[in-house]
């Protein structure tokens, strides 16, 4: 039967090479993976850039792997999409004494990524020092004409050209020229937390996380960056695969399918810091949890594991705010298949576990800060055959296996996050409140001490002043003193004594003030009577009558001495309020009423009212009025606020003034908490 055959255009190479892989670092990583699959123990990534324009710069990747013969090169390299490593049971030809490796590559496309790096590619490869170097030259510019078939583009090779300054006697050397970007420069765009600004620096970071830390298969595989420019010296040298150095939490899990669901085994380890803070042990040991298919388990987790079993570890250090800056390793939870990273999981702009999304949904208050989270989830070709890389290295192919994998991995992160929240974050959130409470208590205690110290200090000069007053009076009795002078001295003595008594009264009030008065159930009638009694001497001296009316027996719960003090102060103020001359009687009335769960106590006088300009601020700041200084009313307001009561000037006019104290009832206080 007649059949069509694909006749790829030469331009296909452009799409597969230059445009399939977006990140040039991924392109270099493909060659490093190839070296790994070739059984290499060392890979050098050399930058020949010093003093050269971009077009003259070169990138050379050399490995000491098995190398290729002409036939194997033609069979493997020259057949895009073909990969012997993809065959089931394929192994990596490692040297004797090296640990076995599972081959990473499988798509047969990685080598084409050279087109992403530069327009010219030279390959040198040989298997034995006795073999000539196979030298192959690719000019990717020859692949731009879409009218030319892919197979028509000639790729010259020879076995007569030796590489200059080859690092190894055997293996493969890939030399890329006419580079697509300047590797000595900075990465354009905004800065990324934890990521180097330098192209080479960022490459180094990506290579550091290319291989899973502590994986046995990587024990004898070293990637070295080298450069002929001193300016890039800080990024050169062996790329060390760093296991987490500092972590306060280590959470490990393994997930496996069982008969009726999924079994998850978890373990939490804590640093000494967390142990001291939480009182929890260093290690919880392994804890098993079953997500049962048959039960009524309402967990969000799927009850299937179509991806196959996998494991993971999360490392978190809440004390480290910029992990990358401190440890030199970018944060992120990476996915490793057989020890080699699967892009882009864990990349700075890939939030596959939803760590940043959860932080954003909580308006920034997440238990786990993305920049301090490190970890890896491990899969393998053998256990997870359905978890397949996409060709463009942009993640795993989305299928049922991937859905289960993603859901369970995110589920484990949520469990870990909840653990950190309940053990570390939540108690710390309470601490600030407790600290604030203690600070407030300390401030109050300190304020009390300061006030008492100040007041006690006043007693000494008052005592001394009393002695001087006594001396003054004795002087006024001196027989040789002219009588006019004596009278004047007596006058001074009387006025000074009044001032002294006022000062003493103020000192006494402060010393009598008990900041820590207990609440007690009492009634307004008795409170008002006591306050009136306190003000009685003043009332008697000024001929003002004070009556208590409508006192309720309904109980209120208040610090009684403070309320009595406040009412007494208002009463004294009312007693001393100026009266117009035509007023026959001067009186002050105290009354109370209950309404809407609040008790209102009114102090009413028949004075001549308060100046409207003063009335506005009479309870907010000391205001000098005729009679007593306004500081007394300010004290009333402040004292009442201690137990959530308040005072306001209800009315004032020429017929008198009314101050009202509002005291919340017990039920209102309960509502307010």
């Amino acid at each position: 039967m007649p059949a069509f055959r694909f006749e790829p255009s030469a331009r296909l190479q452009r799409f597969l090479g230059r445009e399939l892989i977006a990140d040039p670092n991924l392109a270099i990583a493909e060659f490093v993976k190839n070296a790994y699959d070739a059984g290499a123990s060392q890979v050098y990534v050399d930058f020949a850039v010093d003093g050269r324009a971009r077009e003259q710069q070169a990138l050379v990747i050399s490995d000491n792997g098995v190398g290729m013969s002409r036939d194997s090169f033609e069979r493997d390299w020259m057949r895009p999409g073909y990969s012997a490593k993809a065959r089931r049971g394929a192994t990596v030809p490692v040297r004797p004494g090296m640990p076995p490796r599972v081959p990473i590559g499988e798509k047969g496309l990685g080598r084409l990524a050279a087109g992403r790096l530069g327009n010219r590619l030279e390959v040198f490869t040989r298997r034995s020092p006795n073999d000539p170097w196979l030298h192959v030259v690719f000019d990717w510019n020859a692949f731009t004409d879409m009218d030319v078939a892919l197979r028509e583009v000639e790729i010259p090779y020879d076995e007569a050209t030796d590489p200059s300054a080859a690092r190894f006697l055997t293996g493969t050397i890939v030399r890329i020229e006419d580079l697509g970007l300047d590797w000595t420069g900075l990465v354009p765009g905004r800065k990324v937390a934890g990521r180097s600004d330098s192209r080479v620096g960022r490459l180094r970071q990506d290579l550091q996380i290319l291989l899973q830390p502590l994986a046995a298969s990587h024990a004898q595989f070293t990637v070295v960056l080298a450069c002929d420019s001193a300016a890039l010296g800080q990024y050169m040298g062996p790329v060390v695969v760093n296991p987490p150095e500092v972590s306060d939490y280590m959470y490990s899990f393994s997930i496996e399918p069982i008969a009726h669901g999924v079994r998850v085994t978890r373990r939490v380890a804590r640093s000494e810091y967390i142990q001291e803070l939480t009182g929890l042990p260093a290690d919880d040991g392994s804890v098993r949890d079953i997500i049962d298919l048959s039960g009524d388990d309402e967990t969000e987790r799927p009850k299937t594991l179509r991806s196959g079993e996998f494991t993971g570890e999360f490392y978190y250090s809440p004390r480290i705010s910029k992990r990358a800056a401190e440890l030199g390793t970018p944060p992120g939870v990476y996915v490793y298949r057989d020890g080699v990273r699967v892009d882009p999981y864990g990349h700075w702009d890939d939030d596959w576990l939803g760590v940043r999304a959860r932080k954003a949904s909580r308006q920034g208050y997440a238990a786990i800060q993305p920049n301090s989270l490190f970890g890896h989830v491990s899969i393998s070709k053998q256990a997870n055959p359905e978890l397949v890389d996409m060709s463009n290295r942009q993640g795993l192919v989305q299928n049922d296996a991937y859905d289960d994998f993603l859901a369970h991995a995110r589920g484990e992160f949520r469990v870990f996050e909840e653990r950190v929240f309940s053990e570390y974050v939540q108690p710390n959130w309470e601490l600030p409140a407790a600290k604030a409470q203690r600070a407030a208590e300390r401030a109050q205690a300190y304020g009390e001490i300061l006030l008492r110290n100040l007041v006690h200090s006043l007693r000494q000069p008052i005592f001394g002043l009393g002695a001087e007053m006594s001396s003054l009076r004795a002087l006024s009795d001196h027989p040789e003193l002219p009588s006019t002078l004596a009278d004047e001295i007596i006058g001074i003595h009387h006025r000074a004594s009044d001032h002294l008594h006022d000062m003493e009264a103020a000192v006494g009030e402060f010393l009598d003030f008990d900041f820590d008065v207990a609440y007690e159930a009492t009634d307004t009638a008795s409170i008002m009577r006591e306050a009136a009694q306190r003000a009685a001497p003043l009332a008697d001296s000024l001929g003002v009558s004070v009556t208590v009316a409508n006192g309720h027996r309904r109980p209120i719960v208040v610090p009684r001495p403070l309320l009595v003090r406040a009412i007494a102060e208002l009463t004294r103020n009312a007693i001393q309020a100026p009266r117009p001359p035509e007023r026959d009687q001067s009186w002050v009335k105290l009354e109370s009423q209950w309404s809407l769960g609040h008790c209102t106590i009114r102090v009413i006088d028949n004075g001549s009212g308060i100046d409207p300009n003063i009335a506005k601020s009479i309870l907010q700041q000391p205001v000098s009025t005729q009679g007593r200084p306004g500081v007394g009313l300010l004290n009333v307001s402040q004292v009442l606020s201690l137990f959530r009561a308040s005072v306001h000037l209800e009315s004032t006019d020429r017929s008198g003034s009314t101050f009202a104290i509002i005291v919340p009832g017990e039920e209102e206080l309960r509502k307010e908490g």
Partner: protein
């Protein structure tokens, strides 16, 4: 001028000056000291009828202990404890324990009160010794138990800063 029969011990020099001036204006003598050592030395020489001491004086011994020392030396001396710090109840506890004769909080009218006590002390000093009173004072002093003294002293110290 005859030997003053009143001794005042207070570390505040301005207060001592004001009281000295007051006593002088009232034609009365007053010995004063600003420290316990100085006060005790003066007392051992003058054997004053009335010793007025501030509670909070610099040094390890507070006024109560040193007043007791004075009374132990001369039991018939009237000892008055004054203080700007101690609350009335604390001072009265010392009085009820028989450790002092009077306790007064420092206030503006206290100097006049002290003057009255000083006049009475002057009269006692001028009169012949009242031996029954003296004997009674000795007996009373013997009854003062060290444990009670410590207890009251600790009680008073709690009210005073820097103790």
């Amino acid at each position: 001028m005859t030997q003053p029969s009143t001794l005042l011990i207070d570390d505040e020099q301005s207060v001592l000056d004001s009281l000295q001036n007051m006593f002088h204006k009232n034609a009365m003598g007053l010995d004063s000291a600003s420290s316990w050592d100085g006060g005790i030395q003066l007392f051992r020489v003058g054997l004053h009828e009335l010793v007025i001491a501030d509670y909070n004086l610099p040094g390890s011994k507070h006024g109560l202990l040193l007043l007791n020392e004075a009374r132990a030396f001369h039991p018939s001396t009237e000892v008055v404890l004054i203080s700007g710090w101690l609350p009335k109840e604390a001072g009265e506890a010392a009085q009820h324990a028989g450790l002092i004769d009077h306790f007064f909080v420092k206030w503006s009218g206290l100097p006049d009160l002290l003057l009255q006590l000083a006049r009475m002390a002057d009269e006692r000093a001028a009169a012949p010794s009242d031996w029954p009173t003296v004997a009674g004072a000795f007996l009373r002093q013997q009854k003062v138990k060290a444990r009670e003294l410590d207890r009251v002293d600790q009680l008073l110290r709690r009210h005073v800063p820097n103790t």
